[in-house]
Amino acid sequence: MSVNMNKNMSKNMSRASEHFFRRLLGAILPLLVWLLHFAFCYGLAAAQCTPAAMREGGPDRTLMGIATVVALALLAWLVWRARGVLAHPGRAGLWQWASFLFAALSLVAVSWNSVPILLVPGCA
């Protein structure tokens, strides 16, 4: 009985794991894009202004610009993919709402976060 129960339970678990992590990752992907973009730009700027990896002329803003374009393109696609929420806002579930809002928030945040790349040269 107990073995069967455990087997059934394991089966239930895998079904009832409900793709938790896949759904979670799908929803928070835009926030992770923001996080990675932020960490990359901050890390590159910090590294290229330290004795170990000092770069003449300051941090490589072209590389940061490329990272930004990639991040913004990805986020724009994620917003587009989640746009269905706007058509039926009442019917959309929490995951759909979260996917849309995270994508929109991250798009705004990455855009705003990238303004300094255009404005600030050098390490000073």
Partner: protein, 841 residues
Amino acid sequence: MNSPLPNQSTAQLPNPVPRPEGELERLEDVWRTPRGWRFLSSVNNTSIGLLYIGTTLLFFVLAGILGLLIRTQLAVPENTFLSAGTYNQVFTMHGTVMMFLFAIPVVEALAVYLLPNMLGARDLPFPRLSAYAYWAYAIGGLAFFCTLFVGLAPDGGWFMYPPLTGTKYSPGLNADFWLLGIGFIEISAIAGAIELIIGILFTRAPGMTLGRMPVYAWAMLVVAVMIVFAFPAVIAGTALLELERAFDWPFFIPERGGDPLLWQHLFWFFGHPEVYIIFLPAAGMVSTMIPTIAGTSLVGRRAVIAALVGVGVFSFGLWAHHMFTAGLGVLEMSFVSAASMAVAVPTAIQVFAWICTLWKGKVQRGAPTLFLLGFMFIFVLGGLTGVMVAVIPFDWQVHDTYFIVAHFHYVLIGGMVFPVFAAMYYWIPLINGNRLSEQWAKWVFWLMFGGFNVAFFPMHITGLLGMPRRVYTYAPDLGWNGLNMLSTVGAFAFAAGVVLFAFDVVRTLKRRTQPVGNPWNASTLEWLTSEDYGNRSIPRVVSPNPLWDQPTLSRDVDQGAYYLPQTATGHRETIATSPVGAEPRYLLVLPGDSWLPLIAAAGTAGFFLLLTMKLNLLATLCGIMAVVGTIAWLWESDRGVPETSVDAGGGIVLPVGARGTASHSWWATIIMLVVDASIFASFAFAYLHVSMRLQVCPPPGSALPPVELAWLSAGLLVAGSALVWLATHALGRRRLPWLALAALACALASFGVDLHGLRAADLAPSESAWAAAVAALASYQGLHIVLLAIMALYLALRGWRGHLTARSRATLDNIALVWHYTTLQGMAWMSAVRLVPLLME
């Protein structure tokens, strides 16, 4: 996922009523809270929650008194009420106690008390861990506070910047008390966070999908995850600073390659998310109270939940805005400045949702409403000055002035203290059915609200006029006299409000117990009738507002018509449900009351505090008490019960307990290992940070061990893990304990090889920060090997005594997880110390 289930109140309920005779009595017997002095052995979330909340409020009052001492000293220029030295201790303790002993613990304490009932669970999944976390905090915190009475309190400011807190400028024990005392209290906060994550994801009432989960539970989930990633940074930081102070490992001393900014990075990588760790629970409580007082559902509920998560993630990009004057590059600072403004967007989503909900509904007048409106006014002002100080040039002007003091008090008192007071007015009826006085509440509110603004608004101006924070006095001709006196008057008015509130609480709690009912007509489950065992039966929920949308729910739950109206195994138990859809998975058997968590906590607190005082013998005794207490506590756990499955009602037959990835304890171990990995990552960051300051790495005179030794060490670790893997497949076999001991031999040999290599390379940690950082990584690995030694012996003993079986194998599975993690960490530290010099070539 939000498609409503059929309303159970109109359909067949899971269990027939009336319930059989004696069932309720058995349930009561199992859950009965001990009386008298034995109450201290209670582990039930209601008992621990109330003790926890009470202790945090005690610290709020104590730290508040320190605040009044500060204001008394500053009321007039050139005051001699406090000496400069005492003033340093007083302001350091005010900030430290408010942040570490009040603000963080109170949000966890409220969650321990409220969440199980709000989620429809009988208790949190690890009640003894809650008890341990509470007692470690209470004993450690009170002893820490007492250092003030003997002049040994820390005096380097609540963020303890080196070099001021290094041995050169702080030679006494004061800083050590902060580092060891606060360091281990943070461990207690992490224990609480793990408990909350598992509780929220695995013990919700059937049908309470993530979409229907109360916003407060969402907030606590986000906060607990933030704690898991943020607190390790400061734990690592405090460990490094204590290593510098105790063994002269110069992590923060520039002359030997260290960097004081390393501390600031580690501290604020914790410290800024921490502001949101404090604010988000308050926001969650606000999002729970506002719909009730407005009598309508929360506007934009899904957007509010998404905003909570958004704030939680963005808050990890803000740490360096505390370091705008520390000499970081302009580009890095600009990124952080932009992120500091971006976080205002999801915060504003919540504020607008609250305003819209109030607008949409019909607002009940009353004490919670007053405090919620006060919260919104003060917090929005604090948020706006926050955006101001996110602008770098403005921050350069006001950094370390009273403008900043005003800003963070507006954020913290507005964003957290006012909501907590609203929460107390709102939820105190849960304790004995009595509400606090509405008449007194008006006095309390206006004294606190008025006093707060009179105290802190002028500080914006004092700051703009140039008054620096943390000065113990000032000259009379600077134009600050009137503003300072005004601030002092306001502070005392605020305190009068708190005193009045305390009297009212005592008065109310002394009253005769009344039926709790649902005094605010709230929609969430904590207002179901609740006893020591929680609800009579565990409800099925079909909406985010169950008490509004399921009108007979309360009656049916009370009659025992829902799930598990009995104790099925004769032990304490609750239903474990799936993380997304909250469908019943298994019966989670909970441990009962015990003195062991208290003994283990007292031992842990004693160990850390006595070690600080260099009373090594007593500290060792306390350490033994902690280890023995913990092992005795664990020895009783993970035991099978005779029943293999139980009928919870409604055709749901639940297996008793679960194994492997299905088990809540497996997930708790995974989260603990994430914390562990984050601490390790912080040490690795320290290594990277000091390496990046070098032109040549390793620095002249230093070297790494031969690479062959690293391969040998890694091989031994992998062999140990392989043996443990074999042990997990040898359940019930005589060889299992021997496999564990053989694995231990491999782990010990691996570390022996590491040590030999470091010695052969002549690594001298006190010579350079680089060498110290390598030694810190090695020491952290060593700490894990010690842990594995204890675990392997414990596992072998359990195996020999027959306590490892197919139905009680969590110990084995969880130790295996820790073992494999240690193997990975061992390889990671060896790779990290070798890769960085290669990259720098």
